[in-house]
Amino acid sequence: MSLMLVFEQILNGIQFGVMLFLMAAGLTLVFGVMGLINLAHGSLYMIGAFAAAAVANATGSFLLALAASLGVAAAAGALVEFLVIRRLYNRDHLDQVLATFALILIFSEGTRWLFGSFPLYLDIPDYLKGAVILPGGLQYPLYRLTIILIGLLVAIALYLLIAKTKIGVRIRAGENDREMIAALGVDISKLYTAVFAIGAALAGLAGALVGAVQSVQVGMGEPVLILAFVVIVIGGIGSIKGAFIGALLVGLTEKLGSILLLALLSSFLEPAQAKSIAMMFSSMLIYILMAVVLVVKPSGLYGRRV
C-alpha cells in the first residue's frame, strides 16, 4: 500500500462525501423542519440526472444541463409537496413512508415511460475531461476535483442561507417550534414548499453531477438514498452541519476503510485470508461507524437531545 494510494482514496472519499452531502442536506432539512421521512428523495436525484441528460443531448451544453437539473428537480419537488406531501405532515411516520414509497414507484415507472429502460447518455464536457497532475505527482480526474469544489461551494452557500438570511431564520425557527412560527404569522405552507424545493434541487444537482460519470438510469437514486439516511443519522437529524460532517465521515470510511483494513489485517494474517476478511468487513464499515456514533451520541453528532 503506497502513500499515493491513500492520498487518492482520501480525495475519493471527500468527493463521495460532498456528493452524499448534497443528498443528505435536503433530507435532513425536510426531516428537521417538517418532521417528514421522505423516501422519494432518491427519485428527485434521478429526475435531476434525467433532466440533465435530456437537456445536454438537446443543447450540448453541460452548464445548461446542470441548470435544468436544479430547475426540474426543484419544480418536481414543489409539485410533489403541493399535491402529496402536504397531506402527510400531521400523519405518523408509517403513513409517510408508505406514501413516499409509492412516489418512488410512480417516479420510476413514469421515467421509464418517458425515457425508456435503456440508460441515457450524459458525459462530462470536454473542458473537464481527463486527469490533472497534483502536487506529489498523483494523477486525479479533473471532474472529480470539480465535484469537490462544487460540493464545498454549495455547503458554504447553504450555511449562509440558513445562518444569514430571513428564510434561514424561518427554517431554524420551524425546526425549533413549528406551532409557534405559524402562530407568529409566517406562512408555514409556503415555507414548507420552499424548503422541500431547495432539498429537491440539491438532490437533482447531485444526480446530474454523478450521472455524468455513472449511468443515468431508472432506479439510480435508491442506493444513494440509503447512504444519505445513514449520513443524517450519524450527523444528527435536522442539522446541516451534522449532515456535512457525517457525509465526509461516511465518504472517507467507504473509500479508505477497505484498504486500511486490508493493510492492517495483512500485517498478521495470510494474504488470502486477510483479503476475504477485509472484503467481508468493508461493506459493513459504514454501518459499524453508524452504530458506534449512536452508542456514544444517541441523537447523532450534532443532533438535538431528545
Binding site: 500500500m1 499515493m4 463521495f16 435503456f118 440508460p119 447518455y121 481527463g130 455513472q214 449511468s215
Partner: protein
C-alpha cells in the same frame, strides 16, 4: 405489490403448412423488466417474442413477469407460474443469483427450464438437471475467451475485477483458467455499485499491464466513463456484457477500441442472423444486443422441439431439445452432455458506425468451446 402482467397469445397467424401434432404449450417468462437491469430483460423478451411471432405457430402462449432483479420475487413468480398458471416451460432469467434461486425448484417440479442468459457453474456441473438447458453459455465461457485473447495480446499481469455474486466469481475463475500470466490484483465489487474511484485507485497503485473486468449493465457504463477520465491508459478487456448494444450508446467514445468477447455479433454472416438483425431493427427500431440474440435463439430452440414432440411426453421433448435442430443466429450450435452450448467465441472491437456505437468481430478466440463442468454432470 401488484406487477404488470402481459399475456401474449401467439396463435393468430394462419398456419399454412400441414398441421403438426404438437399439443398446446405454455411458457412462463420471468425476467428483469424494471429497475437497473431492465434493458437486459427487455432485450431477451423482445428477441423471444420476435421469434414466436415470426414462427406463426399455433398453441404457444407466453406469460411474462417482472422479477425486478430480486431473487425472492423471482421465486414467488416461479411458484405462481408453475402452480396457478400451469406453465410447461420456464425461461427468461438474466441474473445468476436469481437462476440459482429458481432453476433447481423448477426442474424438481418436473418442468423444463431454458436459460436465455444466466449459466452459473453450479448448474452446469454437479447441480445439472436433465430438464435444464442453457441456450446462451456457461458463465465462464466468455471470460475464458478473454483470458485466451489476453495471452495472444501478450498481457502477463492483468488487474481483474467483477461483482461479488455467482456470475462474478465464475468470471474471474474463467479468465484465470485460460490466462497464462499472474493477476496483478483481484477485486470483487458490490453488485449494483456505481462509483469505481476506489477500484481505479487500486489499479493505479498496482503494476498491471492490462485490466480485465466483468461489470454487466449500468455498472459497466459507470466504470468505463470513470476509467476514461482517470489518466490511466492500460488496455481493457472484458466479456460482451459491458459492451452490448443497449449500453454502448450511454458509454459513448470511452468504449471505442476496447476488445470484448462474445458468442454472437450482428455481423456474423449466416442467413438466420442477417434476417434476425434486419427484422429486429424493423420491429423495435434499435439494433439487437447479444441478450436479444439469446432470447431469439431460446424461442427458436423451443419451437423446434415443439414441432417434433409433445411437451407432455417429457422424454421425447427432452430428446427434441437436445437435438438443437434450429438455425442459431450465432451459427454452429450444439448441446454438450450437460445441456450447455458448444459454440465459437469471438473477439469483438467497439467501433463507431455513423452515429451509432457498435461492435465488429476481429477474430475467433475459441472454436467449438464447451465448459469444463460437463465432466461433473450426470443426470
Amino acid at each position: 405489490m401488484k406487477f404488470s402482467k402481459l399475456t401474449f397469445t401467439a396463435a393468430l397467424a394462419l398456419a399454412l403448412s400441414a398441421t403438426n401434432a404438437s399439443a398446446d404449450l405454455k411458457v412462463g417468462m420471468i425476467t428483469t423488466l424494471s429497475g437497473g437491469g431492465a434493458g437486459l430483460g427487455i432485450d431477451v423478451r423482445d428477441g423471444f417474442m420476435l421469434a414466436v411471432e415470426q414462427s406463426g405457430v399455433e398453441g404457444l402462449s407466453v406469460v411474462i413477469e417482472d422479477d425486478q432483479r430480486k431473487p425472492d420475487v423471482a421465486v414467488q413468480l416461479a411458484d405462481k407460474l408453475i402452480q396457478s398458471e400451469k406453465v410447461d416451460v420456464l425461461t427468461g432469467i438474466i441474473w445468476s443469483n436469481l437462476a440459482m434461486a429458481v432453476v433447481p425448484s423448477t426442474t424438481a417440479q418436473g418442468k423444463f427450464y431454458l436459460s436465455p442468459n444466466a449459466g452459473p457453474a453450479a448448474l452446469a456441473g454437479k447441480g445439472c438437471h436433465a430438464n435444464y438447458f442453457n441456450v446462451a453459455w456457461q458463465n465462464d465461457g466468455l471470460h475464458e475467451a478473454a483470458g485466451e485473447y489476453a495471452n495472444k495480446a501478450g498481457y502477463s499481469n492483468s488487474f481483474i475485477m467483477a461483482p461479488n455474486y455467482p456470475a462474478g466469481v465464475d468470471a474471474l475463475t474463467g479468465y484465470k483458467r485460460m490466462f497464462n500470466g499472474e493477476p496483478a490484483g483481484e477485486l470483487f465489487t458490490k453488485i449494483g455499485q456505481n462509483d469505481y474511484a476506489a477500484e481505479i485507485a487500486q489499479i493505479r497503485a498496482s503494476d498491471a499491464d492490462s485490466v480485465f473486468f466483468f461489470l454487466p449493465g449500468g455498472m459497466g457504463i459507470s466504470f468505463l466513463k470513470q476509467y476514461a477520465n482517470s489518466g490511466l491508459d492500460l488496455p481493457l478487456i472484458g466479456p460482451a456484457f459491458s459492451f452490448d448494444q443497449g449500453i454502448l450508446q450511454a458509454v459513448g467514445e470511452a468504449a471505442v477500441g476496447v476488445k470484448n468477447t462474445s458468442q454472437w455479433n450482428k455481423d456474423i454472416e449466416n442467413p438466420a442472423n442477417m434476417a434476425f438483425v434486419k427484422s429486429f431493427k424493423e420491429k423495435y427500431d434499435r439494433l439487437p444486443s447479444l441478450y436479444a440474440s439469446q432470447g431469439f435463439d431460446t424461442a427458436n430452440l423451443l419451437l423446434s422441439a415443439m414441432a417434433t414432440a409433445d411437451v407432455n411426453d417429457q422424454d421425447a421433448f427432452r430428446t427434441a431439445l437436445e437435438a438443437a435442430d434450429f438455425e442459431s443466429v450465432r451459427g454452429e450450435f450444439a448441446f454438450a452432455s450437460n445441456h450447455h452450448p458448444i459454440q465459437n467465441i469471438y473477439v469483438r472491437e467497439v467501433i463507431k458506425e455513423g452515429d451509432v456505437f457498435t461492435n465488429k468481430i476481429i477474430e475467433t478466440a475459441l472454436i467449438a468451446h464447451s465448459d469444463v463442468y460437463a465432466a461433473d454432470c450426470s443426470f
